[in-house]
Symmetry: C2
Subunit: 329 residues, 2 copies
């Protein structure tokens, strides 16, 4: 019993590990055939399905001294669900592939599965995990592919914003970046390495900001709300409001003009901070954006520039290759 | 020009790397919305879709001294397409997430994309790549999720084999394992590390066996052929014929009895060798299995055991955590 409690994935082997993980997950309402065969079969009632995929890698994407296994599962689900929501779709299912060092305790994978399950239950009720893969690697790596149902609606793309549209946002603005800055400032040791005990203290002192970084609660259900209200364009704000706004501006051939007075006490952090996973959407002129959306600006004629109070702004963001110093922790 | 030719992914950054990769790929016939938005939208004509996911990790799953970038792309596509085929579905699309060290030459990713494209064109014409993700990691890691269309047919599961059924197989039997043994025996240096020049020599001398390991050509189109002919059970033989047969035997509650005379000169290698990615299927009694399937035995009453010439056989196979010695190469 004690043995099984502390067993590693290498000791137990793939089948036994799956036997510990799968009972913690449900396959969800869309699963016609769930885990256990060569592939799953999912329902697509309107003859279409939405697909997005994302990798999370120990080091550039998370630090094990800061994130619990539960946090990792939660965040892997939450970020992918938001990409589905950003199309105006209802998330239906995930497949999850995980590569772990053989010395990883099985309890880490169990905590990860619990995080997946709880994020799905809270952010996308009815959605589940329909399949996956387990591999060995010296670097803990998580690959999630998420699916969604457009329920007969057209997808909401980045390219549909039109001059005159109202620009609105749902979710946190800058909290995840503030949480990350706190962790780097106050939860590292003298050599700059992430420190678990210090992270625990920072999390107790700043629960909202740290949770925004480690286990975000994006407004997943707002995706369908926006689509139903006629949103003309929408995306998941993962790289910062300014940089992601630029993607809508360029795809739609318009300028997006933020009203700094609507961006909180520090508009610069609100515009530059990455990983909030809010939804930025444009609504037709005259529309009152539905809750939880808040007006943050407007769409104007232009050639693909982001503005703040009418002035062109540089876009700040995050590049996966340039943003990592090679450390893990 | 010389600069761009030898640039690394870290130097170019995500956007520029995508700009070099995406033109090498097509999104395929099922893509209603392809790469470039938060998610893709795919057609599911009969209201269902098949989904499977798989990770390939440098070290346990491939050695860069042996596999070219093209090989890696080819194999990542081929193995996932076979899982879709094993459900009796026609493969329609892939999403591909890749994590690479920042010092990886962009040319490696271009070769990888070429391998994906060519494998799709040869093994699953009409299928394409509809999305992906790029991340940084110290370990080259490839995550593929593949999709398929059942075209109105029921999926062919592992659980449908019945006593009296004909057991048939399509594809190579043991070639991939023979190729891997050749590489380990003849393409390593004095310290046991994989050696690229030696691998080139081995590949010239044994092109079929080495290609079966590094860039397999599984019988993907045979999946739809089997389903149309009424296959009662089917799976992708990735862990060896005996071990994978055991999965059908257990799921169906029957015994599978191989006829060793139909397994070639070395039935033991045919039964134990992993990674051939052939299709093992059961067909109703009296059916002549359609080409390229060959009869290899029969389904008999039993409680989930694999037999050879009527005698219960131990299943030999491969576990992702126990099978890797920690080396990469």
């Amino acid at each position: 019993m004690e043995q099984a409690e502390h067993a590693t994935v290498g000791e137990l082997g793939e089948l036994a590990v799956l036997g510990r993980i799968l009972p913690r997950l449900r396959s969800g309402d869309a699963a016609l055939i769930g885990p256990g065969d060569d592939a799953a079969v999912l329902a697509a009632a309107d003859g279409r399905y939405v697909v997005t995929t994302d990798l999370m890698v120990h080091g550039p994407d998370f630090r094990l001294a800061w994130s619990s296994p539960f946090d990792l599962g939660w965040k892997a689900a939450a970020t992918n669900l938001t990409d589905v929501a950003a199309m105006g779709a209802r998330p239906t299912a995930l497949v999850v592939a995980l590569a772990a060092p053989p010395a990883t305790p099985v309890a880490v994978l169990e905590g990860f599965a619990d995080g997946l399950r709880e994020a799905l239950a809270e952010l996308a009720p009815g959605a589940g995990v329909v399949g996956g893969d387990l591999s060995a690697s010296s670097v803990l790596t998580i690959a999630v592919t998420a699916f969604g149902d457009l329920e007969g609606r057209p997808p909401v793309l980045r390219s549909g914003a039109r001059p005159g549209d109202v620009l609105a946002h749902a979710g946190a603005r800058g909290d995840a970046a503030r949480g990350l800055a706190l962790l780097f400032d106050e939860a590292t040791d003298a050599t700059g390495e992430p420190d678990a005990a210090a992270a625990e203290r920072v999390r107790t002192e700043h629960p909202v900001l740290v949770a925004a970084q480690l286990a975000p609660r994006p407004p997943v259900s707002a995706g369908v709300i926006a689509a139903t209200a006629g949103a003309t364009a929408m995306l998941d704000v993962s790289d910062g409001l300014a940089r992601d706004a630029l993607r809508i501006a360029r795809a739609s051939g318009v300028d997006l003009d933020f009203d700094s007075a609507r961006l909180g006490a520090d508009p610069r952090v609100a515009l530059a901070g990455a990983e909030d996973h809010g939804l930025l959407a444009a609504f037709p002129a005259g529309t009152v954006p539905p809750e939880p959306f808040e007006v943050v600006g407007r769409v104007v004629e232009g050639a693909g520039v982001v503005r703040v109070d009418g002035v062109a702004a540089d876009a700040l963001g995050w590049d996966p290759y340039s943003g990592w110093d090679g450390r893990a922790g």
